[in-house]
Structures are given as structure tokens and as C-alpha cells.
């Protein structure tokens, strides 16, 4: 009896509550019943339609899979959204702040409850899946793979819908979010069925390493999006003065490291194609830098609840500074990621600077533009970062910077007949400049002057706030050391205390 009690004590309270509510509620009962009825009817129709085919098992499996995907990727995550929205009403989520539950436990509880419901749906469909295996045409490994992959995607989609439920308490906006999520889930189910059909028909493809890599990439991206949503959701329901930046920074850093490790392993394989991985690098770099636009636009002041979490050790405080909240620290974080990115890139033999290889130059060029786009506009907007609209603008500023640097010179060119500038053929236009470098033509000098010039201006514009960010973390760290020294002295003086 001791072991079940031990488990019972450690069960997530939200999980227990949500599962009980779901099992008692109408939504789950109706969903569950409809899934079973639909699976039975669709199964019968598929059997009748393909009864004489050799691949009757495949047709039957696809019919059942359609029901399974609709329930597990569509209905169950949607239920998670509805349940979490209901719990958030009337200040319930605020009251949760007063309990021993942490925001991540609240979200994890909802996610686990959703996972349990997916498991129940899967259990209900298990006889149908077993029958599809007994019919000719479906490989067992494919069947298990598809079920596990769907379960993973169901959890990831639930994670996104759960986090989306905390986005707003406004009823109209909630309906808009609901419609958007419904459309997205419908799209996912619509895309999943043809993909599974392709896999079932060519089951040997699952043995192909390239296909395995593609599935691994998809799974990795889904997990990353789910983690991103999870952290975003927990930050959303945590207290405004709590540290809402560090978890996201750690996630982005982890994602960067995982991406680079993946690329590193890929480059070592005999089938590696340098160009393919270079593009992967670029995609990874920009995907990673996108949220760091938010970091660089954060308010400089460390909140009072963040201050008490700063490391007391000066060296540790210095090392973790890029992960602490604040615009200057955000710029530092961007620099850290780009430096890591650039240095690992240069370690690979296939992308080392080479006279015949323009990729190295293109990397450096992208690096300079990346630093500029993510840190120059935010540095200029930093002064007003306490205002929410400015912070929103700051988050979108890298994209706006790319558009602005292409559009404004083009407009000037049109007004003053500046050669081909009006046709976006100027060194401030990133795509045009990138193309010039890729083609190794004679316009390279102005392209480099602009890129390096903007980079230098960016460094100068950010210098003050980066120093301020470093100083702020060191100041708080010193304050904590002093407080600790006071406490130690007091305890020495009054041991009983």
C-alpha cells in the first residue's frame, strides 16, 4: 500500500483534477463515443470498398488512422484548450499563484491530462489497429512507428493549444485564437493522413537513413515548438516581476547547441553535402535569432524578484549575464550565439574560408547583417523600452530593419534618379548584396563597406547598454554577497538565531 500512496502523493494536482473533470464532463464522453462509432463505420466502409484488394489492410488502417488523428491531434488538444481556458476564468489561475504549484506544474498537469486522454483514445482504437495488422498489407514496424509518432505530435499540439489558452482572457480574442487553432489542427490532420498513406504504401522507406533523418528533424522541430510554447505559457502565467526571460534564453541556447551538434554529426557522415548543411545552418541561425529580437528589446532594469536570483559569485554572475533579463544582456546573448555559431562553422573543413568557396564570405556577410539587424534597431529603441508598444515594435524590428534598409534607399534612388537604386539594386538591399557575393562579381566592395560600416555602428550603439547590463548584474551580485556577509556575521554573533 505504501507504493501507491507514494505515487498518489506525487501526482500532479492539475492532472488529477483535469482527468476527473474530463471523465465526468460531456465533451470527453461525446468525443470518445463518436471516435469509436466513426472508427467502426469507417472501418466497415473501408473493408467493403477494398475487400478484394491485396492491400485491404492498408485501406482499413488509413481509415482508422483518420479517426485516430482527428481525435488525438484535433479533439484532445482542443479539449485541453477549452479546459485550460475555463480554469483561467474568474482569477483561478491567479489563485494558483498562491499555492505551492509552480507555473510549469500547472502547464505540465494539463499536458499530462491531455496525454492520458490520448492514451484512452488509443486504447479504444487498439482493437481496430490490431485488426488492420491482421489484414494483409500493413507492416508492424510502420504501424508502431505511426502510432508513436502520432502520440508525440498529439502531445506537442496539446502543448501549443494549452499555452495558447493563457494568451488572453478577452472572450473575443479567445474565440479568434480558438478558430486559428482549429484551422491549424485541421491542417495538421489533413497533412498527416497523406504522409502516413505514403509511408504505409512504401514501408521499406522507413529503413532509409535519409527518411529517418527527415522524420527525426520533424520530431525535433515539433518538440522544439512544443517546448517553446510550454516555456512561453509558463512565463505567461507567472508573476510579471518574475524572471520571464532566462528560461526562453536557455531554451534558445539549447536549441542552437542541438542544431549545431546535429549539423556537426551530419557533416561527419560520408554522404554529407556541404551546401545542404550550409542552408540548414542559415535556417537554424535565423530561427534561433528570431526570438532574440525580443531579448534585445527588454527593459534594462532587473526586477526585484529577479535580483534575488542573481548568482552571488562574481565570475558566475559574469558568465550568466547573457542569460539574465535586460536589453543589454539580450544584445550580449545575440553576440554569444552568433560567436558560437561562427566559431563552430569555421571548425568544419567543408566551410572553412577558401579562395574558391564563396560560402565562407557569405557566412561572414550574414553574420555582420545578423548582428546589425538584431541589435541596431533595438539599441535605438532601448530608451523607450518601458512602454509596451515600443517593446512590440522592438520584437519585430529585425524584420522591419531588413525591409527598411531595402525600401528607403530604393525610394531615395527613385526620387533623385540614383542609378539602379530604384530597382532595389543597392548595397543596403540584403538579397541583392547577398546575390552579388554569391556570384562573386565586381560590386563586392560597396557591399562589404555597408555591411562592415553598419556592424561597427551597431557595436558602438550597443556598447553602452551592454556595459550597463554587465554592471547591473555585477551590482546585484555584489549586493547579494554583502547581504550574505551580514547574515553570516549576525549568525556568528548570535548562534541561536
Amino acid at each position: 500500500m505504501i507504493f501507491p500512496q507514494w505515487i498518489d502523493d506525487r501526482l500532479n494536482p492539475i492532472l488529477v483534477k483535469e482527468v476527473r473533470q474530463a471523465l465526468r464532463g460531456r465533451y470527453f464522453k461525446v468525443t470518445y463515443g463518436l471516435t469509436l462509432i466513426a472508427a467502426t463505420l469507417v472501418g466497415i466502409v473501408c473493408l467493403l470498398a477494398a475487400v478484394n484488394d491485396e492491400s485491404v489492410g492498408q485501406t482499413y488502417f488509413l481509415g482508422i488512422y483518420l479517426c485516430m488523428a482527428t481525435a488525438m491531434i484535433g479533439l484532445v488538444p482542443f479539449q485541453a484548450f477549452v479546459a485550460a481556458s475555463g480554469s483561467g476564468r474568474g482569477g483561478q489561475s491567479e489563485l494558483m499563484q498562491l499555492t505551492a504549484l509552480r507555473p510549469r506544474q500547472i502547464l505540465a498537469g494539463g499536458l499530462l491530462a491531455s496525454f492520458v486522454q490520448s492514451g484512452l483514445v488509443l486504447a479504444a482504437l487498439a482493437p481496430f489497429l490490431a485488426l488492420s495488422f491482421l489484414l494483409p498489407g500493413v507492416d508492424l514496424s510502420v504501424l508502431i512507428f505511426v502510432v508513436l509518432y502520432t502520440l508525440l505530435f498529439s502531445a506537442c499540439v496539446s502543448c501549443v493549444t494549452l499555452s495558447a489558452s493563457f494568451l488572453t482572457e478577452n472572450r473575443l480574442l479567445r474565440v479568434i485564437v480558438m478558430v486559428f487553432l482549429g484551422g491549424w489542427q485541421f491542417g495538421l490532420v489533413s497533412a498527416a493522413v497523406p504522409g502516413v498513406s505514403e509511408l504505409v504504401e512504401n514501408s521499406s522507406e522507413l529503413q532509409d537513413p535519409e527518411v529517418q533523418v527527415i522524420f527525426a528533424i520533424f520530431a525535433g522541430l515539433a518538440i522544439f515548438i512544443a517546448l517553446f510554447a510550454f516555456i512561453g505559457g509558463t512565463l505567461r502565467i507567472s508573476h510579471p516581476e518574475e524572471n520571464r526571460s532566462t528560461p526562453l534564453r536557455v531554451l534558445m541556447f539549447g536549441f542552437a547547441l542541438a542544431g549545431l551538434a546535429f549539423t556537426f554529426v551530419g557533416m561527419r557522415s560520408p554522404h554529407a553535402e556541404a551546401e545542404g548543411f550550409v542552408l540548414a545552418y542559415l535556417a537554424l541561425g535565423f530561427a534561433m535569432l528570431l526570438p532574440s529580437g525580443i531579448f534585445a528589446g527588454e527593459s534594462e532594469r532587473l526586477g526585484r524578484r529577479v535580483q534575488v536570483t542573481a548568482p552571488k559569485n562574481a565570475l558566475v554572475a559574469l558568465l550568466v549575464t547573457p542569460f539574465m533579463p535586460g536589453g543589454g544582456n539580450g544584445a550580449l546573448f545575440n553576440g554569444l550565439i552568433l560567436a558560437l555559431f561562427g566559431s563552430i562553422m569555421l571548425l568544419f573543413p567543408t566551410v572553412q574560408p577558401d579562395a574558391d568557396d564563396p560560402w565562407a564570405e557569405l557566412f561572414i556577410f550574414c553574420f555582420l547583417w545578423g548582428v546589425t539587424a538584431f541589435n541596431l534597431p533595438t539599441a535605438l529603441l532601448q530608451r523607450w523600452s518601458n512602454h509596451m508598444p515600443v517593446r512590440v515594435l522592438s520584437a519585430f524590428s529585425p524584420g522591419l530593419f531588413f525591409a527598411g534598409t531595402a525600401l528607403v534607399p530604393a525610394f531615395i534612388g527613385l526620387m533623385f534618379e540614383g542609378g539602379n537604386w530604384g530597382q532595389f539594386e543597392h548595397p543596403f538591399c540584403f538579397p541583392w548584396a547577398f546575390e552579388r557575393l554569391a556570384q562573386n562579381d565586381s560590386f563586392q566592395k560597396p557591399v562589404w563597406i555597408v555591411a562592415v560600416g553598419m556592424f561597427v555602428i551597431t557595436l558602438l550603439a550597443n556598447l553602452k547598454r551592454v556595459l550597463r547590463g554587465l554592471g547591473e548584474v555585477q551590482r546585484v551580485s555584489k549586493l547579494r554577497r554583502e547581504n550574505q556577509a551580514r547574515v553570516d556575521a549576525f549568525e556568528k554573533e548570535v548562534p541561536a538565531a
Partner: protein, 310 residues
Amino acid sequence: MKILDVQSISRSFGSVKAVDNVSFSVSAGEICGFIGPNGAGKTTTMRICSTLELPDSGDVLVGGCSVLADPRGVTRQIGFMPDAYASEQNTPVRDYLEFHARAQGLRGPARGKAIRSVIDFTGLKPLLDKEVLALSKGMRQRAGLAVTLLHDPSLLILDEPAAGLDPRARVELRELLSVLAEMGKAVLISSHILTELSEICDVVAVIEAGRIRASGRVTDIQKQLSPDALYYMRCISSVELLQRFLLEQPGVDKVRADKQGCVFSLAEGDQALADLLGRAVTQGLRPLEMRPLTADLEEVFLSLTEGVVQ
């Protein structure tokens, strides 16, 4: 021992200063009535004490833990009941209490014991299988109070707990709070129903326009407002005769007559009162009753506040 120590807190929302340099304290076993007109800053102060809001300046200590530096330490020690307690659909009272007990980190036999204890205390036993949403307002407040008490907090913060309750439910709530205070818990309670508060509160803090107008025992505040003691006197003779007699007496002030007797203030102590009574007897007024008047919270409140709305 101070359980709640509010130290010069201020909080602004845009240009509105909701709480302005507010300080007061509540000790163990004390019930503190937090009174003020609508928009005075009561709820904001209570939310700051509960860690749901942060002060722009100042600090609040609950059992020595700061809401700024150690909010988790504070939440472990408080039970906060907002004016409208949130509740869940499809949830019977039993599950509701169990969920909150789990959420408060109660494990094993301690969880069951805590749930049983609050059920007994609040008298929710007959309603355990009823859905929370189906309960009456009074019973839902009881369920809310039960949830608030689950983790045995040393400080209870109750925001308008009596609002919308019928007279019987109010009396029952008042009795529950008195028992809690006897158990050594500090209670900070806000209410508009001042007669309710005056019967159970040991101390009050009067807030208006974000500022504390007065705090302490009601009698002490009354003394601050009017240093002279108030008395009531009733005689067999006519009220007019009594009023004339009082107006003639040295040290007597603010004489006010009603249908049966007079209220008056007397600056000096017991000796002057005995002399006054003796004179009344010798002058043939035939006194029936003479008693000191206890401070009236409503009067204190009206004297202190001006009805300023932010």
C-alpha cells in the same frame, strides 16, 4: 507577535495612486478590520499582502518573509480569499478541497487530516458530493474559507467575505472568524458592513484615497478623534430638565438629547463623574441609568473619511 507588517507601501496605476505610503500591522490572534470607501485601495493593499501585486515602494513582511524577496515564503503562510471565489465546473466539494490540498503540497495522511479538519470546521460535510457551482453563495464562501484554511496559514486575508451573504450566513461567518482568532491566527478582513466588523475586530485600519487615515483599536481611534469620554444618562424626570442640568455642569460638553436621555462628554475622570451623579440626585433628577458609551465604528469611519473617490 506581528504576523503582518505593512511597511510604507505605495502602488500606482498610471496616474492614479491606489496605495500611498500605507503602514499598519496585525498580530497573532488579532482580527483587523480594513475599512474604506469603494476605490480607497483596500483590494490593492490586500493583493500586495498576498503577493499578487508588487508595491512600487515599501515592503510587506508576513511572518518575517518579504513579499519582494521571498514570495513563496509568504504564500506558505497566508490564506487569501478574494471577494469572488473562483470555482470549477464538474467539481464536487470533496474534489475541490482535495485538489487544493494537493496544490498546497499536502501529502499522505496529512492531506486527509487537513481536509477532514476544514470540513468539520466549516460544516461542509452534508455538501461534499454537491458541485461547487450548485452551492448557495453562503456555502460557496464556506467552501472558499475551507480552501483558504487547508494549509493552516498563520494569516488570513479576506476581501469582502460577507458581501452578498444573508444575515444567518453572516453570523456564522463571524463566529468562524472569532474561533480562528482564538486559535491564534491573524485575520485581515475588509468589509462595507461596519456593524459586522465592529463586533469581531480587535483593531481597524481606515483607508481613504490610498492613505491610512487611522489605525489601531476602535476605542483608541475614538479617543484620538474626541479626547473626552462619552456618557449616556437617563432620568425619571423630563429630558429637557436633564439637558438643562448637564449644560450647567462644569466639564460637560457636547450635550445631545434623544427621546429618553442625553449623551454628553466629560473631560475629567471618575471623580468628576461621581460628583456629577451626586449633584443630579440632590437636584431631584432621580437618575435611572448612567453608562459610558463604547466607540461606534460607523461614527469613527464617518468622522475619518470624506467620501473621496479616486
